[in-house]
């Protein structure tokens, strides 16, 4: 793997960049692999990377029905944070956060991880209570988190409207300074390049059409490019997990929903941090190109169409305008939809399945991108050792039978 640096860049500039090697090969599938990972998104590629790096398992194929990084990895609002409420989630995402903090160097690929700070706004007393609860839980778990009052919010993000007469008055916010954003495509490309360099086959335009299961044990996958034998098979195909799992007769507590996002035309910087308001489904940051990047709420119905309904966007923008009045004269440049797997407790499933040597990584809801490195790290461990890493053990599928859910919906507003 040729090293990326300002020097290699300068050197190649001399030869008009004619000599850059391909960042990954385009191999034909081999008849058999130790591990076949279904889905070349961030999670699948990171899993392959850590399988090779941490566990020395390099006879691995990552098969992808489209192009690598083309699913939710390339369709999200790129927010990275680890300030989750429950210990199980907090510690899992914090492990991911630590990996994020060195990812560019680890991969020798600038994923532009930008720790500009993530604020979650509180608009009513219930929000405040839950925010403080979250901050305290984070602090005791060693996760950086602060509670800001309205004036401090204004200080951290000057364009925000904290007027008491606002329809959504800002009573305060949690702040994770280490949170921020990253360049989503670069994450997929960086992991693909790294995994490829260690011998992993990343096979694009190769769709899984069936799973080969004999006597309750997975034996391989049937694909649009022929059958591939595998000692172990790992699903990392967020958005289509139910479809693939069904090929092995497995039912999951998952529903797939459209999740929309949008960007504005690029403008000179107006907002230098990430602002989230779960109450009104507004998630805003500004990209390095100057575009406002905004996420909307999840459309309520099951949908594989990668398109949502406009009123969701209209309501989201109305709320955004109340929080950021100066946005009203910018323009929507592009909108799109992803497909998110959602679990009843808004936490993922990472672990073994009823079929031996078949593993599942799914149900991330809106948390998938920020989890990428940690998910790959733990999932690789789970596959290599055939047992979950302590960090993903709580996220087994069994919890829906025992009732040990990890409910990250957060509390409802005060009801009385």
């Amino acid at each position: 793997m040729s090293r990326f640096s300002i020097f290699s860049l300068a050197r190649n500039a001399m030869s008009w960049h004619q000599n850059w090697p391909s960042q990954w090969r385009s191999p034909e599938p081999k008849p058999e692999y130790d591990v076949v990972i279904i889905g070349a998104g961030g999670h699948g590629l990171a899993t392959a990377y850590y399988l090779a790096k941490e566990h020395g398992i390099t006879n691995v194929a990552v098969i992808e029905k489209g192009w690598l990084g083309g699913g939710n990895t390339g369709r999200n609002t790129t927010i990275v944070r680890s300030n989750y409420l429950w210990d199980e989630s907090g510690l899992f995402y914090e492990n991911a956060m630590k990996l994020w903090e060195n990812l560019s160097q680890e991969l020798n690929y600038n994923v532009m991880f930008s720790q500009r700070g993530v604020m979650n706004l509180a608009h009513n007393l219930g929000d405040v209570r839950e925010s403080v609860r979250r901050v305290n839980a984070n602090n005791l778990n060693g996760i950086d988190a602060e509670w800001l009052n309205a004036e401090q919010v204004k200080e951290f993000c000057p364009i925000i409207n904290i007027s008491k007469n606002s329809r959504y008055p800002v009573l305060g916010a949690t702040l994770q300074r280490r949170g921020g954003t990253a360049r989503h495509d670069a994450v997929a490309w960086g992991y693909a390049r790294g995994a490829d360099a260690m011998g992993v086959d990343v096979i694009q335009n190769c769709e899984v059409q069936g799973l080969v299961v004999e006597g309750g044990v997975i034996k391989g996958v049937r694909t649009s490019r022929g059958e591939i034998k595998a000692k172990k098979v790992a699903m990392a195909c967020a958005g289509h997990t139910s479809v693939v799992a069904e090929m092995a007769g497995i039912r999951l507590p998952i529903e797939s929903h459209p999740l929309q996002a949008l960007v504005s035309e690029p403008m000179k910087p107006v907002i230098d941090c990430v602002v989230m308001s779960n109450a009104v489904h507004v998630y805003v940051s500004q990209s390095d190109k100057g575009e406002l990047v905004m996420g909307a709420g999840i459309d309520p119905y099951v949908g594989y169409s990668q398109r949502g309904s406009l009123h969701v966007i209209e309501n989201q923008l109305a709320a955004a305008m109340e929080l950021f009045p100066l946005f009203s004269r910018t323009r929507l440049m592009r909108s799109w939809g992803g497909i998110v797997d959602t679990c009843p407790d808004a936490s993922p499933i990472v672990g073994k399945t009823p079929v031996k040597n078949l593993y599942v990584n799914a149900g991330w809801g809106t948390g998938g991108f920020k989890a990428t490195p940690g998910s790959g790290f733990c999932y690789a461990h789970t596959i290599a050792k055939d047992e979950p890493h302590p960090l993903n053990a709580p996220f087994s599928i069994d919890r829906f039978i025992t009732g040990a859910l990890v409910d990250e919906h957060g509390a409802a507003g005060v009801a009385h």
Partner: protein, 128 residues
Amino acid sequence: MLYIKCPWCGERDETEYHYGGEAHIARPENPDELTDAEWAEYVFMRTNTKGVHRERWVHSDGCRRWFNVARNTVTNEIVAVYKAGEKLDLPDATAPVKAAAKASAKSPAPSEAKKPARKTAADKKEGA
């Protein structure tokens, strides 16, 4: 924005309804006789169909009736609307998808013609 035909009130915008999840999941007669796994199957496990999905909606802003919709979750085409308690027999639940796939197979575009099965995934482009 979906346009859903309430079996009573007629066609209304999606915003008048609430989505009620997968249809035809009957509550067990005697929950006590079920294993935890069987109970979890009822409470949590879902088919999450890619293709024609039987689902429930309630006309919250209208007649407050719960009813069933058979909707293609890939194209959002509504195949049928029927009342709670009614059964819907679709010869082949995935017929519309297949049809669409056939249609795209007629396409002279080689990438389509080669892999009609990929039709439903053919939109997987564009992005952030």
